[in-house]
């Protein structure tokens, strides 16, 4: 497919998953991600795949655990309250080092909240989310094109590091229609993973997926092993193979104020940068693409060059903590957020920039 097609973000994820060789989807209905399972319910049978609507989010993620253990490229999707329910399974998947893709089309919380777009699951996504010492990779697209691209990269990352990968989007991106260039399909063989469960043939030792290590030394060793893997992932996003997926820098070279935002917010911030520049304010933008690992180094390197940072989120302030850790007190880090499903306007953000840059 070399022609651009017009697609909704949620559907682009579905098609990209199929093109990446994903043949198994397990999920439970929740708004605002419904287009994705609806798309795959139609699409997967066409490629001899399995679409299964589970009895709960808990069951769905455990089906993902089973399928991933059996060597499948497999995914699930949900929205905030549903992703909370999946945390049990995500912890087990991370502990057993199984690859899978999890999409969270984030909505307003806490509790049932509402179905409007939000970014208030940042902590849950980037700190593990469930119990125990683990991390999930978190990718945050800001366009329909990237929803396709990062879904495919997500499956590659999951397999490369044997780790769950989370694609974190919001209701705007999910529902938005944009032209997207889809890649050629990938062949994926479920028998390519030698560690996967397939039935113990006489010519190999048995394979085992487990997360229980009763011996404290064993569990400590396992946790340090996971930690070292996370360090490798961080390095690859900082200076290695996955560097280009860490963050996007826009007009940061001479910026006196650097705006930081991900997902749909970054699209608004680009407009803000443009408007600032027209008004003589040298603004720039850092857009994290990978939320974990976080582009700490890129932000730290900008701290000496700029005067201040303004973090904008659709939450009461979550990613701002990571920005502060990266800036490490060297420059002021300001925050502006709207929450509860409200999207800030470029005008509102421009006002905030004015207040910081021209306090009088």
């Amino acid at each position: 497919m070399s022609e651009k097609v017009l697609m909704k973000g949620n559907e682009a994820i579905g098609e990209a998953a199929v093109l990446a060789g994903c043949r198994y989807y397990f999920g439970y209905p929740i708004t605002p991600q419904s287009e994705l399972p609806a798309y795959l319910a139609k699409r997967l049978p066409e490629v001899e795949g399995v679409f299964l609507q589970a009895e709960s989010e808990v069951s769905a993620i455990n089906m993902v655990y089973g399928a991933a253990g059996a060597g499948a490229r497999v995914m699930t999707s949900s929205s905030s309250p549903g992703v909370s329910l999946k945390q049990e399974g995500i912890s087990y998947i991370a502990a057993a080092e199984l690859p899978c893709l999890i999409v969270n089309v984030v909505r307003g919380g806490p509790g049932l909240g509402n179905i409007s777009p939000a970014q208030s699951d940042y902590f849950q996504a980037t700190r593990g989310g469930g119990h125990g010492d683990y991390r999930t990779l978190v990718l945050a697209p800001n366009s329909v094109q990237e929803m396709s691209d990062l879904t495919i990269r997500g499956f590659e990352l999951a397999d490369a590091f044997r780790n769950p990968v989370l694609v974190l989007v919001d209701g705007v991106l999910g529902q938005m229609m944009e032209p997207v260039l889809l890649p050629e399909p990938t062949d994926y063989d479920k028998n390519s993973k030698k560690w996967a469960l397939s039935g113990k043939s006489p010519n190999r030792d048995r394979n085992l997926c487990t997360t229980i290590f009763l011996d404290v030394d064993q569990l400590e060793q396992h946790n340090w092993h996971l930690y070292q893997k996370y360090q490798v992932i961080s390095d690859e996003f900082t200076t290695g193979k996955w560097k280009d997926y860490s963050c996007e820098l826009h007009e940061t070279e001479d910026a006196e104020i650097i705006l930081v935002g991900y997902g749909i917010i970054s699209r608004i911030l680009k407009t803000v940068v443009e408007k600032c520049r027209k008004r003589g304010i040298k603004a720039g933008l850092v857009r994290p693409i990978s939320l974990w690992p976080f582009p700490t180094k890129a932000i730290a390197e900008l701290a000496p060059k700029t005067k201040q940072f303004l973090v904008v989120e659709m939450s009461t302030g979550q990613m701002v903590e990571d920005v502060k850790l990266a800036v490490d007190g060297k420059k002021p880090v300001y925050f502006f957020g709207r929450t509860g499903g409200t999207i800030p306007s470029d005008f509102e953000i421009l006002n905030e920039v004015d207040k910081i840059v021209r306090p009088d």
């Binding site: 198994y24 397990f26 399995v50 299964l52 589970a54 009895e55 709960s56 808990v58 069951s59 769905a60 455990n62 089906m63 993902v64 655990y65 089973g66 399928a67 991933a68 253990g69 059996a70 060597g71 499948a72 497999v74 049990e88 399974g89 087990y92 479920k190 469960l197 397939s198 039935g199 113990k200 043939s201 006489p202 048995r206 394979n207 085992l208 997926c209 487990t210 997360t211 229980i212």
Partner: protein
Amino acid sequence: MEKVFSRPKCMTATPYHYCPGCDHGIVHRLVAESLDELEIADKTIGVAPVGCSVFAYDYFNLDFSAAAHGRAPAVATGIKRTRPESIVFTYQGDGDLAAIGTAEIIHAANRGENITVIFINNAIYGMTGGQMAPTTLVGMKTATSPYGRDAALCGHPIKVCELLSTLESPIYVTRVAVNTSANLMKAKKAVKTAFRLQKEGKGFTFVEVLCICPTNWGKAPADSHQWLAEKMIPVFPLGTYKDKLGVESKA
């Protein structure tokens, strides 16, 4: 001398960690013998639960996945849907299957997943120290029902075979015990029938095995077997609750 009895081929030589008198070892053996006799061990994937049999995979020389508490039927679903050519079974206790995993077992059964579930009902939580299970008998004392299970507060024991047999999809739902030689023979036949039906791609099969827990019942193994016969079987009658294909009448 001719060797007439030995460890099933698909079992490991690992000594059981189970308490003296526990029935898990017997039921593990029934599963292993069935897989060997049906010649399906090399394509079997087991799913272990959370409970005393959390380390069931230590005893089987099979590919195995451990599952979160109660989620074994969901994990088995994911495995079987990915590898329909495999034989997939879960091995679960009563807390795992009939309390925290109620949704998973009912829906796996209702979808008619082509898997086999071995359900160990000993009316108590073993590994956590003898708490009240959904299958604990009314009046039975446990760590969390020290005055005896009060039906007015905690309801009555859940009868899983009866419950699952109301569903359209399961093809074989049966309850057996291993407390006497005669029952043991019947249990073996039931386990083997369940795996044979799965091998033939027929659908969801479920074997409940009434077992003893001498440690947490506070009884010697022989007394436990007597108690099982006198108290448990009347509440959980043995027999086949669903045999959609009539395999037992044909046998």
